[in-house]
Symmetry: C2
Subunit: 294 residues, 2 copies
């Protein structure tokens, strides 16, 4: 069968190793206090830094004209999008190393719907859980759509991929099935997959919530990226709540198989993290490193 | 591996046969002349008829209170959505036979992006095609999101599923891989999958467009629904362009394995088609039947 053939042959040649998996934290890209509200400036800045980190030409001097890939109308803007097809067709290439995966959290999207209905607890015989499953997916996929569009406007060839639609499922909240072949195919074709925390089917509970962090852990184990970056609204992991004036930023906390950088979105530190440019003794980098033992 | 296990075991028990696959034609649910514009009234009416066709209680007398499943903000509406969780939790069940699949066309979404870039012709080495692939997916998935929301507002537990994300791909524009296991799992869990024409990867051309009609044909062959309904902006298939005053509606055109009804959205005829209630000699039904030879 065609499906089986696709499983055996992931592509015409072995895919390149993934350079980086980026978590766009819900707290960094949405306004947490306000239902379904995007922090436009923070999102735009994170996308611009991602583009810079992908850029193959070093030296961020004169800003190039960006090949915007969102050709859709924007809400509230009656004008049709302008697309200079001739200029785009004449470009030699994107000039980007697009070998990144983006995973985002929900922030002020999805949490309201999930908590009102108890989707994470399961039980689809309940009308409330069933409705909440639908409502949660509508909310998180609308955030996904906005993030894909923001990345596309920065010229990043992003494609939205919902874990539910990918067929990912859990068994008592642990990942039971998570076929990454379409993610790998998309990377191989030069696209940046954009995944998100999602409502999924669960073998024992009927359904639950699969968080962005669990998705990242699974993908990191499966694909062994060079490094993983968590962009959040604080500088990293602290020894007590970061609102405490005595809180100390823990600059290095453990040793795992992959370098992990946790830092604040929209800062010089996040740009360095996205580039993988965090040396072990850099005093001027603010964030937390979970250093690989390799 | 977990993936292989999922392939072998589609679910705890055999799924029910699919009752109906519905095509919401792009011409019926969007305003074709205006870029990315939904025909709200036609879409709302199609969703309401779908709900009526799914309703297990016959006799469409007093309208029941609908369990709305879109709990997200609507553009331009500053109010937070109101969710009566207690009332929803107290319901015995949805009272709907949700064993339907919805596939929609693109209408005024996606066509602009696809035609400007030539995505259907393939060639991802071209920056224009790559950008057009991203732009096309943004446009068609935003329509999908609006259709899922419109169905959810009518109390239909709908889940958006992009063919690209499902891992569907083509080889020289013919379906090469189209794993339907997640669609079947979703139906089995009581959800209504909502698919759409999409930009997909192609083994030989790099990429192309997979149309809603090809998706329907594939799903009909695979799942053998009782009947298939095409809702469009004319009454059915005519012997000449339907704008011609002498055009004659062909009431029956062929014999295939499955009853297919083609009719105009938002009419009494479309409601009867969605219910599967089209007898062979009904003079008062306007539309075209492709009658099964069973």
């Amino acid at each position: 069968m065609a499906e089986e053939a696709a499983q055996e042959h992931p592509g015409p040649s072995a895919p390149r190793p993934v350079r980086c998996i980026v978590k766009l934290g819900g707290a960094a890209i949405t306004n947490k206090g306000e239902l379904e509200s995007i922090n436009e400036e923070s999102l735009r800045s994170a996308c611009a830094q991602l583009r810079q980190a992908m850029s193959e030409s070093e030296g961020d001097g004169a800003p190039e004209k960006v090949l915007g890939m969102d050709w859709s109308k924007r809400h509230g803007d009656p004008a049709d999008p302008a697309v200079d097809a001739e200029w785009i067709a004449g470009m030699a290439g994107l000039g980007l190393d697009t070998n990144f995966i983006v995973v985002h959290g929900a922030g002020s999207f999805g949490h309201f719907q999930a908590s009102r209905s108890g989707v994470h607890k399961g039980g689809l015989h309940s009308t409330l859980v069933k409705a909440g499953f639908v409502a949660t997916r509508i909310s998180v996929t609308s955030l996904n759509q906005e993030i894909v569009r923001a990345l596309a406007r920065e010229g990043i060839p992003s494609v939205g991929m919902s874990p539910f639609t990918c067929g990912w499922s859990t068994s008592q909240r642990k990942i039971a099935s998570a076929n990454a072949s379409q993610i790998i195919q998309s990377l191989h074709a030069g696209f940046v997959p954009v995944l998100h925390g999602d409502a999924v089917l669960d073998e024992l509970l009927d359904c639950t919530i699969l968080s962005g962090d669990v998705i990242i852990r699974h993908l990191a184990q499966l694909l062994s990226p060079k490094y993983v970056v968590f962009l959040t609204d604080v500088h990293g992991v602290y020894d007590r709540p970061p609102t405490d004036p005595n809180a100390v930023l823990l600059k290095e906390i453990a040793r795992l198989g992959i370098d992990v950088y946790i830092t604040k979105a929209g800062t010089e530190h996040s740009l360095r993290a996205l580039k993988g440019d965090v040396s072990s003794d850099s005093e001027d980098w603010l964030g937390t490193v979970i250093r690989s033992s390799k």
